[in-house]
Amino acid sequence: METKNVMIVGVGGQGSLLASKLLGALLVAEGYDVKVSEVHGMSQRGGSVVTYVRFGDAVYSPVISKGEADFIISFEKIEAARYAENLRKDGKIIVNSQMIDPMPVITGAAQYPENVLDELRDKGVFVDEIDALSLAQQAGNAKSVNIVLMGRLAKYFSIDREKWIEAIKNTVKPQFVDVNLKAFELGYSY
């Protein structure tokens, strides 16, 4: 099987590391060769963060380069656009419609480009936009945005829902399992 590439992008602190941990554990359980590349340290402090998840028969590079991503899962609207150059021509973007102003917008040095998703669609990119923050709140915790988005990704994967649910149970802390299972269902069936 050709290596598949999933990028998880967002703003430091949004919980992308847990999402990649879940996805990595699931894919290993499915028997794939898997590499997950994370960013720790300074970039985590409210900066733009990106995690690469790659799986297949034999994965070499830990990173995803331009034009290679099958999926970009974005926790924030313009972060989807920032990494769109990494998407394959026929790749898919799953994006949380939440907008978080980066510092240049806060200071007035730049405008928040609110129409970037339309521009992506105009270029023929498949964009699945969901209000993951509202769904996460509905699930009972605003921090479960990450699992809502994983639920959404699960729709496009041919892995049984039961396997995802098992992976969630094995990945999140026991006291958060219920909230996250709810978040997963809401993302999946949105």
């Binding site: 997950v36 300074m42 590079s61 290679e68 510092m103 806060i106």
Partner: protein, 578 residues
Amino acid sequence: MKKLMLGNEAVARGLYEAGVKVVSSYPGTPSTEITEFAAKYDEIYCEWAPNEKVATEVAFGASLRGVRSACAMKHVGLNVAADPLFTLSYTGVNGGMVIFVADDPAMHSSQNEQDSRHYAIAAKVPMLEPADSAEAKAFVKAAFEISEEFDTPVIVRMCTRIAHSQAAVELEERVERELPAYEKNPQKYIMAPANAIRRHPFVEERTRKIAELSETSPLNRVEIGGTETGVICSGTCYQYVKEVFGNTVSVLKLGIVNPLPTRIIKDFAANVDKLYVVEELDGIIESHLNALGVPCVGKELFSPIGEYNQTTIRAAFGLPQPENVTLETEVPVRPPVMCAGCPHRGLFYTLAKHKITCLGDIGCYTLGSAAPLFALDSTLCMGASVSGLHGFNKAGGADSEKKTVCVIGDSTFMHSGMTGLVNVAYNGSNSTVIILDNSITGMTGHQQNPTTGYNIKGDPALAVNLEALCRSIGIERVRVVDPYNLKECEDVILEELSVDAPGVIISRRPCMLLKYVKAKPPVSVNKDKCVGCRQCMKLGCPAISMKNKKATIDFTQCVGCDVCTQLCKLGAIEKGDR
């Protein structure tokens, strides 16, 4: 059993399996998790040391006593540990000793992009470089064997993409090692000239022997892929090359990057039409080939700056790139920022308000240099703020002393700030040193340090009393402020700057990301009262932004620190009740 592990976690597993007994480190991205994961094994004594020099010397002591020991640090940490390293090369080891150093090409979380391989060459110690998590674990064991067989410390070089990438690792059992009886050996371990003179020839002979090992070791291997193109690479570059070329080029993958295997390289070169060297950062392998008279292409195609990936490899070899999407809209950059509720913010706001010159240091608070606070004037290396301030004031005199401060975190102060403070006291400048005590080592992801009262395992430990330490150094004026209280910050900073005596201001409030710090309800803007004066925007809080000419506060980020409410003259920012 196969397990997905970070490269750093795999190193820790390797330490466990290799029977290592003592690990001492100072945290530094991207090396930190090596020691954090090692600390989960009860069989290994692990600690956070105040700095990398101390950590390396602790590992030396453990090796001298006869056990396997290790220390881990980031690339710039090895600068601090360079002093023990160079002479450890002469003493050699008793129990095996391995130093893990993690380079950070592209500077994801660093102040420079130095290439640690230079240290292995300069200190004449072997260096191994793994290319994924499984190799990381295997190379740990190989490093200890080399260390003990050749009587040398060994460096294992990691980089961000190996340290922070997860890949499958096969777990094995720990091999426990007996504590041998201690035997005194002054000729080997007392590096006074008479002994050191005898040890230097040993070091040169050892390098020759390890170069011979490098020729035969399975850590260096050739993967045949035709005779047209050959690529020499190591570490993460091997993965990029294989990703792009698969088995269509021949690859010499180096696991031992110092000393390099001369015969293997010459044989490999003789069997391919064109030879390339793909190495991130400096052209060290290429220089070696140049010295051997082996023609190759390296840095003329590959930059010494930053990281590589599949795109850079394809571009350098003139291969087509996959089709992708390009946008016309410019997406504004999203640099890292101080978190909402960061205790450093109130202090930096005060410095910025009074246009105070501020020498900075290494930590989360380096982010105070960014817009809109622009509160810092310099950041050099760990501890340089305190010593730099003293030099700045000696050069600028009384005028400079009245409007210049430095800021340094609690952990960085313990690392190498206190020696600078000794210099301030001893050589008498009226310097005002601000210790940003957020009760944790923040930027590297919350490690305990000698001021926090806990050790690496989270167990209670002695806490250095910063006030008492500063006083004992000879600083009589030691003040403590709460950085959430802007008036207090302002009053104390202005007072300390005005007096003719050195002073320390401890700005004390725990990092709001710490689990025990409970967030208060978020504040919110009363739109009827807000006139859009943007006063609150001067804080650079990521939770506050302007929408329709009124301030708005993101409740998902706000932790109710109330610093912004102190700035709003109209009382438009109201305490929340959600």
